[in-house]
């Protein structure tokens, strides 16, 4: 434990040492306790030392120190002080270093001490900063993404035979304008493998390859897509994308203990369920930001027998607002400035996650100043923060472990309390009974054992043991030492000794049994890591330069006024006894209005990105002025409006995109096409072909498990815990179901699973809006030499040898690459198996080399090697 975190409470009343100079006296001075105030203690110092320059109409450096309301705002150099942090306050810095006052007498040590103590005790008497950065600079508000998408007409193009749906028309329009065409449609199996990885994050099984190849129905392709979308594997794949932007982790972050979060997985499962059930995206956001308010949790809690399913789902969904690192513990309330140091940062991160995931905006710049890149004002930033303040309450923080709701209604809870009180009482009674029995038998044991001693010493021993230890004579001491253990055994020895009495055992066994039965009656509820409004009134100050130690004026909840939304943010304060403010619901209703300029665009762009490698806006986290210009602006708006029109159906968007010729293009464009197109559009931003893509960390691990036939298909539940090995590798240890999909592998911020980390699973500090893809030699080493790979290769080899003993090579290629082996390849691989078998046999002496066991083992090893190289090959990790 970090001891420094546990601090003795910081007293608002300070010890004021009245000493002329410690150096002169070297002795303790008199002390008294009283609160320092600006008026009584600080203003007099300022009047003598600072007033010559820092007062009046035109104070130096724009700083008037005589006014309690201008101290925080400060002057040209920024805030003069930070409440509670003298060491980092400009005022203290200047006077303690002797820079101020520049002429005349410097402050005495006593004055410096007073000033310092006053600031550190909370700078009593200072008003909130009056002046804030209220920029009314509107430059940039005309930016395209700040205005609602308007459904464009589908363009008419020349190559109309290439059109499956409007997507193709928009893409062709731009290709034709540049004199380009689409690439041919990819082969069927290529499409199957691509769709399979895109939608489920797994390679197609050999059975589904055969099924698809054998399906000559005109809608075979559509049926294949439908099968993939209906698979529960789809939700696992797409939930992972969302968990990236939500910043999901299974540990609290911040402190080194990196405490695991035992309940976080419920939110992860919620996301998987949401994708699998194609929950409308507007509803999905509403639940995540205000599920408790949307489903009226408090009414259900207080009036219903049990919580309805939608309410439970609603409160679980608010786990979205709990993904930001939050290591708070109950003892944090003893830390000086804990809100500034720990609670506010969690709120800042939460707001960043909300805005970057849903609106593709980097609002965090506006925490410190208005209009850095985008025309977002600091006041708007804090208005949005105010939306969440009623729940988060930095002034009245609830430690992260305690911020949870039970899956229970009030009635259930009351009933449970009543029953559990009964259980407590009964258990207590039983335990009392037990101790009586124990005392009786302890007595009996004493007597029985005493009787076994020579009669002559029995009474002396008894007396020796009865006398208090300090009062014993030498002889008594000797006797006590010698016989105490035998006659009055303690702990386990006593239990063992008493156990010898059959009637003792049956008596206590019976009591224990009754205690256990009582305990089973205890009524416990599942818990949810949720967000909900806390009682009491929340206030939200604008923080000067984003600094919680320089609070400014209060603001009311609101949203981004920069955005041109048909419906403004509307919220009225509820009646005072209301359990929840309705602020988050008002915010998310504003966010999910059909014509919100960003919500639909940002999500369709993400969907697009995961089907093409790059978004229509290449910066999915930044739709603002510094973000990338859309490659196909009309298409983006068409998709956004289509998304809303479909009832915010994500699966509808997949079907559209995967049905398009644009998506179905080959990535391996023929050289003529490629040469022509690359000269005009080297980055393929016009989509003259599909992009070859490498699978990410999780699908890579999942595919390895899948092809080796060991992937578990168990959905949901607590995470597979990870363990750090002595050599530093973090692995999923062997045990029950260690081969579950990677989305179920516990994400500890400080101990990421090694293989996933090596393949670029993002480290979660806030959230990840776009993954990096690196190609480094540690990946090669992991593939070649890690235990995980070795094990996968062995399982894979055994799997293919069992399934197709006559053609393991052909089977291995089919499983790994989702296509039959061609004849050249078959030759190459068969030859490898032959040669490799010989190499293994050569490891043996001539005598053993001919044993059939040795020969078959050598062949098996050769096939393992073959399988290992297939899994390491480019074709396994790249999708055409």
């Amino acid at each position: 434990m970090t001891t420094a975190l546990v601090r003795s409470g910081f007293k608002a009343t300070l010890r004021v040492a009245l000493l002329i100079s410690l150096l002169a006296h070297g002795a303790l001075a008199e002390e008294e306790d009283r609160e320092l105030t600006f008026q009584n203690d600080i203003l007099p110092i300022i009047r003598t030392r600072c007033i010559r320059c820092h007062a009046g109409v035109e104070p130096k450096a724009g700083l008037n120190l005589t006014n309690s309301s201008s101290l925080l705002s400060g002057g040209e150099s920024g805030p003069t002080l930070r409440i509670g942090a003298a060491e980092f306050s400009l005022l203290y810095e200047k006077v303690s270093s002797g820079k101020m006052p520049p002429v005349g007498q410097k402050l005495t040590a006593e004055e410096k001490g007073l000033l310092r103590s006053w600031i550190n005790a909370g700078a009593k008497g200072v008003d909130a900063a009056a002046s804030i950065d209220e920029s009314d600079d509107l430059t940039g508000v005309e930016h395209w993404s700040f205005h609602p998408p308007v459904r464009p007409d589908v363009p008419v193009v020349r190559q109309s035979d290439h059109i499956q749906n409007p997507i193709d028309a928009f893409v062709l329009e731009q290709l034709e304008a540049n004199g380009l065409t689409m690439a041919a449609e990819a082969e069927r199996l290529t499409l199957l493998r691509r769709a399979s990885f895109d939608l489920t994050g797994l390679p197609p099984s050999p059975e589904s390859v055969e099924q698809f190849l054998g399906d000559d129905h005109p809608l075979a392709y559509e049926r294949m897509i439908d099968r993939l979308l209906a698979s529960p594997r789809y939700g696992e794949r797409w939930a992972r994308h969302w968990l990236d932007v939500a910043g999901y982790a299974d540990s609290a972050g911040i402190l080194s203990e990196d405490r695991p979060l035992p309940l976080a997985w419920r939110y992860r499962d919620y996301v998987i369920r949401a994708f699998n059930s194609d929950k409308p995206y507007d509803r999905f956001l509403q639940e995540q930001i205000a599920g408790d308010e949307l489903t009226d949790y408090w009414t259900a809690y207080e009036t219903m027998d049990r919580l309805p399913d939608d309410v439970i789902e609603g409160i679980i969904a608010t786990g979205f607002l709990r993904t930001a690192a939050d290591a708070s513990r109950p003892d944090f309330n003893t830390i000086k400035n804990a809100a500034a140091q720990y609670y506010y940062p969690t709120m800042f991160d939460t707001l960043q996650i909300v805005c970057s995931s849903t609106m593709g905006l980097t609002v965090q710049c506006a925490r410190c100043h208005s209009h850095k890149f985008d025309p977002i004002s600091q006041v708007d930033y804090f208005r949005m923060q105010a939306v969440f303040s009623t729940a988060f309450r930095p002034d009245n923080w609830v430690p992260q472990m305690e911020r949870r709701l039970h899956i229970a209604s009030k009635k259930e809870k009351d009933a449970a309390d009543q029953r559990n009180a009964e259980v407590d009482a009964n258990v207590e009674k039983l335990k009392a009974e037990q101790s009586v029995v124990q005392a009786d038998f302890t007595d009996r044991l004493f007597k029985d054992r005493l009787a076994a001693l020579p009669e002559a010493i029995q009474s002396d021993v008894t007396t020796a043991l009865d006398v208090e230890a300090e009062a014993r004579t030498e002889v008594q001491q000797y006797l006590a030492e010698k016989f105490a253990k035998v006659l009055r055994p303690q702990g386990k020895e006593l239990d063992a000794a008493l156990g010898e009495y059959a009637d003792y055992k049956s008596g206590t066994d019976d009591i224990n049994f009754r205690i256990a039965a009582e305990e089973r009656r205890r009524w416990l509820f599942d818990e949810v890591r949720a967000v909900y409004d806390l009682p009491g009134e929340a206030t939200t100050p604008v923080l000067l330069r984003g600094d919680p130690l320089t609070p400014g004026p209060q603001v009311e909840p609101g949203s981004l006024t920069t955005l041109d939304t048909p419906t403004p943010f509307e919220w009225t304060a509820p009646v005072s006894e209301a359990k929840t403010s309705g602020q988050r619901l008002a915010f998310v209703r504003w966010l999910t209005q059909p014509q919100h300029p960003l919500t639909a665009r940002v999500m369709v762009n993400r969907i697009w990105m995961h089907h093409f490698g790059t978004g229509i806006v290449a910066t999915p986290h930044d739709f603002g002025i510094a973000g990338a210009t859309p490659s196909h602006p009309a298409l983006l708006d068409w998709l956004a409006t289509e998304f809303v029109r479909s009832g915010w159906s994500i699966k509808h968007m997949h079907r559209l995109i995967l049905a398009s010729n644009t998506w179905r293009q080959r990535s391996r464009a023929d050289s003529l096409h490629r040469e022509m197109c690359e000269s005009i559009d080297p980055d393929n931003s016009l989509l003259w072909r599909q992009s070859m893509r490498r699978v990410e960390a999780e699908p890579l691990r999942d595919a390895l498990l899948s092809v080796s036939g060991t992937l578990s298909d168990r959905l949901y539940g607590t995470p597979q815990t990870v363990a750090r090995q002595k050599d530093g590798e973090v692995i999923v240890p062997e045990g029950q179901d260690q081969n579950r999909r990677s989305i179920y592998v516990q994400i500890l911020r400080l101990n990421p699973e090694t293989m996933l980390q090596v393949f670029d699973q993002p480290p979660i500090s806030v959230n990840c809006t776009e993954r990096s893809t690196s190609t480094v030699s540690t990946q090669a080493l992991t593939l070649l030499n890690s235990d995980v790979m070795t094990a996968a290769a062995i399982s894979f080899a055994d799997h293919v040898c069992t399934q197709q003993p006559n053609d393991p090579v052909g089977r291995a290629v089919l499983i790994a690459f989702s296509r039959p082996a061609d004849s050249d390849e078959r030759g190459l691989l068969s030859q490898f198996v032959e040669e490799q078998t010989t190499l293994y046999l050569n490891q043996h002496d001539e005598k053993t080399r001919i044993s059939t066991d040795v020969v078959s083992e050598a062949r098996r090893q050769a096939i393992v090697d073959l399988c290992h190289m297939l899994l390491s090959a480019n074709e396994f990790v790249y999708v055409d």
Binding site: L23, S97, Q341, F373, G728, E835, M869, S872
Partner: protein, 468 residues
């Protein structure tokens, strides 16, 4: 020889150390670097003074008043309460606690060290002690983030990652940034100490280990015969070449093929770099490898020298846990840390110097903060520990164009607050980058809508007085 060496046909690709991303490929294949792509400057902005950095990170926050910043007044007023001006603002400590260690002047410069650093002090004339450091948080993790990444928030790239991004490696066979954690346990904040944050993962520190295989997965658990390895590698190569032949122009595929080749070369280079048996008995003894107390840290110091010698750009050394966090028994704890590290660090300086490497290797010594001049209170009484202290502490630099034999800045009479030439972390970072030929304002990475830099929003200045 490694089997993968058989096919080292893309030597040129491997300019980039342990990996290569868009840049290496772009520069090699002359495709333009797109605006949102991965631009790495991969070159110095001006003539560097140092080619490499060895960071001796001291987890926990070493006690400056017991090591580098002598305070006679603390001794004089030992046991008394301090004036308000330097009283602990959190009331955790109360009575001033003088250092039990005597300070002496060393070298021609007369730079002062306490007696518990008999080896490092011999290099006084090469060392510049900054006595006026201050930081912004008094909890370890946040202060570590400040020291390592420039701000008190999590998830930013470390100094080593910025250096790797800015300069790449000098060798093709080893990573640019190597972390040497303590095999006996994780340091506080674990892997974040060598994280690349939001820089591409390519720039994160690669962990080299002093026991067992030098790099994780460098070898399989059960080594395969050479001929077997070679034929496996050949098969992989054939599979990949067939795959590539059908996909001409896919640079990523070439890069991935090359990464396997580099892995092969790294197997050799890393094994060689960490083979300390190549060192003479005298050198091994110099680093204290013959003594159980100094062996572990000495091994890492010697590894660091061998890595730097082979072109690694940035090496960070760590100790398990946070041994300098002397909340109790400060004197003994600080002394024990010195016993474990002083001789190896002294040896590192001696060894680099005699090999002519000190001029081009910057050594950074220090932790995330210092310790309080007053003793911690336990049960209302003065105990024997010192608490975390962010307001004034010391760090030292040596080599790499640093002007030794000087102390820079000062704390007040009690070592409480940095008062002269106050030095924020950003100044130190700017100076370190400057010695490497990098301008802290120009070394940027576009992230979340802005050009991020190590020194972020701080107005940082290179500490010119420290430079020779």
């Amino acid at each position: 020889m490694s089997p993968f060496d058989l096919m080292s046909r893309r030597e040129a690709l491997c300019r980039f150390g342990a990996g290569f991303g868009g840049l290496a490929l772009n520069s090699l294949f002359s495709t333009p670097v797109d605006a949102a792509g991965i631009p790495s400057p991969n070159r110095a902005h001006f003539e560097p003074r140092a080619k490499a950095v060895i960071q001796l990170y001291m987890h926990g926050g070493p006690s400056h008043v017991d090591l580098l910043d002598p305070k006679p007044m603390l001794t004089k007023f030992d046991g008394t309460t301090p004036p308000d001006e330097v009283a602990d603002d959190e009331n955790r400590t109360k009575h001033l606690m003088g250092s039990p260690f005597s300070f002496k002047q060393y070298g021609e410069s007369g730079l002062e060290f306490s007696e518990i650093q008999p080896f490092v002090s011999q290099h006084a004339d090469d060392i510049a002690v900054i006595r006026s450091m201050f930081t912004e948080h008094r909890n370890h993790e946040q202060a570590i983030w400040m020291a390592q990444t420039g701000m008190t928030i999590a998830g930013r790239p470390t100094l080593g990652a910025w250096t790797a991004y800015g300069l790449g490696a000098e060798t093709s066979n080893l990573p640019a940034f190597v972390a040497l954690p303590d095999p006996s346990g994780q340091s506080v904040d674990g892997v974040r100490n060598w994280s690349s944050g939001w820089l591409p993962p390519l720039y994160q520190g690669t962990v080299f280990r002093e026991q067992g295989s030098p790099v994780l997965h460098l070898q399989p658990k059960e080594p395969r015969p050479r001929s077997i390895e070679e034929s496996r590698a050949r098969l992989l190569q054939q599979l990949n070449e067939r795959h590539l032949a059908a996909r001409p122009g896919e640079l990523e595929l070439e890069a991935r093929i090359a990464s396997f080749e580099l892995a092969g070369r790294m197997q050799l280079a890393a094994t060689d770099a960490l083979d300390l048996s190549q060192e003479t008995a005298e050198t091994q003894k110099l680093y204290g490898l013959d003594d159980d107390t100094t062996k572990s840290y000495g091994t890492r110091c010697l590894m660091a020298r061998r890595l730097v010698e082979r072109g690694v750009r940035f090496v960070s050394l760590f100790m398990a846990g946070q041994p300098w966090d002397t909340h109790t028994n400060n004197n003994e704890g600080t002394k024990t840390c010195c016993q474990r590290t002083d001789k190896p660090v002294g040896a590192l300086l001696t060894d680099l110097k005699r090999r002519g490497l000190l001029d081009s290797t910057l050594i950074i010594w220090g932790g995330e903060f210092g310790r309080t001049p007053a003793a911690e209170q336990r049960d209302g009484k003065a105990a024997d520990g010192r608490d975390h202290h962010p307001y004034g502490f010391s760090m030292w630099l040596a080599g790499g164009g640093i002007k030794g034999g000087q102390h820079y800045g000062a704390t007040d009479d009690f070592g409480y607050r940095a008062v002269e030439k106050r030095t924020q972390t950003a100044d130190l970072h700017a100076t370190i980058l400057h010695q490497l030929g990098l301008d802290h304002e120009s070394l940027t990475w576009h992230h979340n809508g802005r050009d991020e830099r190590l020194t972020d929003v701080y107005e940082a200045s290179v500490l010119e007085e420290l430079i020779a």
